[in-house]
């Protein structure tokens, strides 16, 4: 029996982890289990004042339990890959490890008052998106699909927390690993 693990680093509350877990439960045909992972401070880049998502992803892949089909980690640190200014999340395409960052999903990042509902919605969409990548899905041209590429929160807010018919059909055909 394989599970879809949702893991959080210490700065993420259990409630936020639960939100992410609930959003992916039932979407990928794997039961969800929750776990904790160590802090991601080792990936801090002082020059950029962000955390490198490649190093985080390597750690997540190492921590995958034997019964993990996939492991999606949640952090509150702002993530980047060297060539880009930031990423909302990062996953191994067709692999076992993925990570999402809540940092830029929060309204306060943009100087606005906190809003839990907005954060929950955005986190759910990003969790579906990165987990979709782990199952081999690439970006979708349908802008309302969870797999469409969002490079800013405005686009995250306009897409749905669900897959379009084509991506959904692809996931149903894909054998569970």
């Amino acid at each position: 029996m394989k599970y879809l693990y949702v893991a959080s680093s210490p700065e993420v509350s259990r409630e936020d982890r639960r939100i992410v877990g609930d959003s992916v439960a039932g979407e990928f045909g794997l039961p969800v289990r929750e776990m904790e992972i160590p802090a991601v401070d080792f990936a801090y880049d002082a020059g950029r004042r962000q955390h490198g998502s490649i190093a985080v992803l390597e750690m997540v892949a190492r921590l995958c339990p034997d019964d993990a089909g996939k492991l999606l980690a949640v952090t509150d640190r702002d993530l980047f890959v060297p060539v880009l200014t930031f990423v909302f999340g990062h996953a191994q395409l067709g692999g076992r490890a993925g990570v999402i960052s809540l940092a830029r999903l929060r309204q306060e990042f943009y100087g606005l008052p906190p809003n839990r509902e907005v954060l929950k919605e955005r986190a759910a969409k990003e969790a579906l998106h990165e987990t979709g990548h782990m199952f081999g899905l690439v970006h979708c041209a349908d802008r309302s699909c969870a797999m469409s590429l969002a490079t800013n929160v405005r686009h995250i807010d306009t897409k749905q927390a669900a897959f379009c018919a084509q991506c959904g059909a692809w996931l149903r055909r894909e054998p569970r690993k």
């Binding site: 890959v81 060539v83 970006h139 590429l149 490079t151 800013n152 084509q166 059909a169």
Partner: protein
């Protein structure tokens, strides 16, 4: 349809290279990486990349600008984006002057890079569509447009190149749907006559008298309704090529007229008394065995020898099965653009099914089959189910086309021969398909004197 475009990321910093490649792969592109300018050039020689991301500063004697210049010499149509961590106005100007399409500073905003690639791909899709439509409009096929990896076909294509600029008559023989006209156009377009027209005439489509006036033209008053002088196809093709399809179907009288054109390079319009001189290269094609038609007295031997100066026999698709996956993917790619469907590949199971089919209608049937499967396909990949109708067609065709007057024994012989061909002479497999044991099959092979 992102996966049709291949991207090469060139950067000596592995982490930069891989992170950009991974980002682009998530967008569905096929992405390769190169750690130096030299490696990028080597890879460019092997693959046709549509977009290059080239880091400006690279060690090893070849910086980004030099790599870009060499890439542009090899692939002038490729789009090159220079990336750098050190933006200065001078380097930006140099890069753009040397032909870079864009210049971006890393780390880049994800939105910027995504919009940039989308914009380039959009233009490339339009350019490709334009090329396809132009080719379709002008049917400007050249030899390298013919998709094949079959050794016999390569020999044919080499022969096409060799004879393209000669005036000699060419006779193309091959089953229906093997691409006889495409070969004729490739010969015409590869030779000195390319700027002049190639005129096609289907000899089987017209009655004798109509065909005569079509080919040679007619004078005013030559027959009822001929209210003005009309130029024939031979005159229209002057300086170029005339393609006479289904030449085996022309009448004895027209065979004589055609022989005269080939010998004298001149003819009379229907109802005319003045010789018309033309400089036309004749390429003829037929699906019937002309040599047999000569032996049977149905086709003039002198015309046959005049036509058969250069002979090209195109093998049927079932004799070049290795081309089936290649052609199927070629049609898929072209039709995806034409039909506007995001279908990206054909599954291995579906390809096996296509490979096993006998293709009586040859390449034309394969093209139509891929199109039909694509029209009803709801996913990104054509699977065995997409081609389910093929099995039905095959069964229907075989079940209902038995020629009249055939005995049961003759039918049995045909079935055994066909099954042995399909299994490449494998007795065990053939016996299993036919539902008999091996000894019975051996006995029938012996009785019907089936060669093995």
């Amino acid at each position: 349809m992102n996966n049709h475009w291949q991207i090469l990321v060139v950067d000596d910093e592995e982490v930069m290279c891989e992170s950009l490649a991974a980002w682009l792969r998530e967008d569905g592109y096929q992405v390769d990486t190169a750690a130096s300018g030299h490696e990028a050039i080597e890879k460019t020689r092997l693959r046709d990349y549509a977009i290059y991301f080239v880091d400006l500063k690279m060690p090893g004697g070849m910086d980004g600008i030099e790599a870009m210049m060499q890439i542009r010499r090899l692939r002038p149509e490729a789009s090159i984006i220079i990336i750098t961590a050190y933006a200065t106005v001078d380097t930006a100007i140099t890069a753009m002057k040397e032909g870079a399409q864009e210049y971006i500073v890393k780390p880049c905003n994800p939105e910027e890079i995504s919009l940039l690639v989308n914009r380039i791909i959009k233009v490339k899709n339009l350019q490709r569509e334009n090329t396809i439509l132009r080719k379709k409009l002008n049917r400007q096929y050249v030899v390298h447009d013919i998709v094949t990896k079959n050794a016999r076909m390569h020999e044919i294509l080499e022969l096409c190149r060799e004879v393209a600029s000669l005036r000699s008559t060419v006779l193309i023989q091959g089953e229906s749907g093997t691409g006889k006209e495409m070969i004729a156009r490739a010969i015409h377009n590869s030779g000195d006559r390319a700027p002049k027209p190639m005129i096609s005439v289907s000899c089987a489509a017209l009655a004798e008298t109509l065909l005569e006036s079509e080919l040679f033209g007619s004078e005013k008053g030559a027959f009822t309704g001929a209210d003005q002088q009309k130029r024939g196809k031979f005159e229209m093709a002057d300086g170029g090529t005339i393609f006479l399809d289904e030449i085996g179907d022309i009448s004895p009288k027209l065979q004589v007229d055609l022989l005269r054109v080939l010998q004298e390079r001149c003819f009379y319009r229907v109802g005319g008394s003045q010789e018309v001189h033309v400089d036309v290269r004749v390429i003829a094609a037929t699906h019937v065995n002309l040599q047999q038609a000569v032996a049977d007295g149905k086709f003039r031997d002198d015309l046959y020898y005049r036509l058969n100066v250069i002979e090209i026999r195109i093998p049927p698709l079932r004799e070049r099965r290795e081309d089936i996956p290649l052609l199927a993917r070629h049609f898929l790619e072209r039709l995806a653009h034409e039909l506007g469907k995001d279908i990206r590949d054909i599954s291995e199971g579906a390809l096996k099914l296509l490979m096993d089919y006998n293709w009586p209608g040859n390449v034309r049937e394969l093209e139509n089959t891929v199109e039909r499967a694509m029209v009803t396909c709801k996913n990104h990949v054509l699977t065995e189910e997409s081609f389910a109708f093929l099995a039905m067609n095959g069964l229907a065709g075989k079940a209902w086309t038995a020629p009249a007057g055939m005995t049961l024994q003759e039918m049995e012989k045909v079935l055994i021969v066909g099954t042995l061909q399909r299994t490449n002479g494998n007795i065990k497999e053939s016996a299993s398909i036919l539902g008999i044991d091996r000894s019975t099959l051996y006995e029938k092979i012996k009785r019907y004197e089936i060669p093995r």
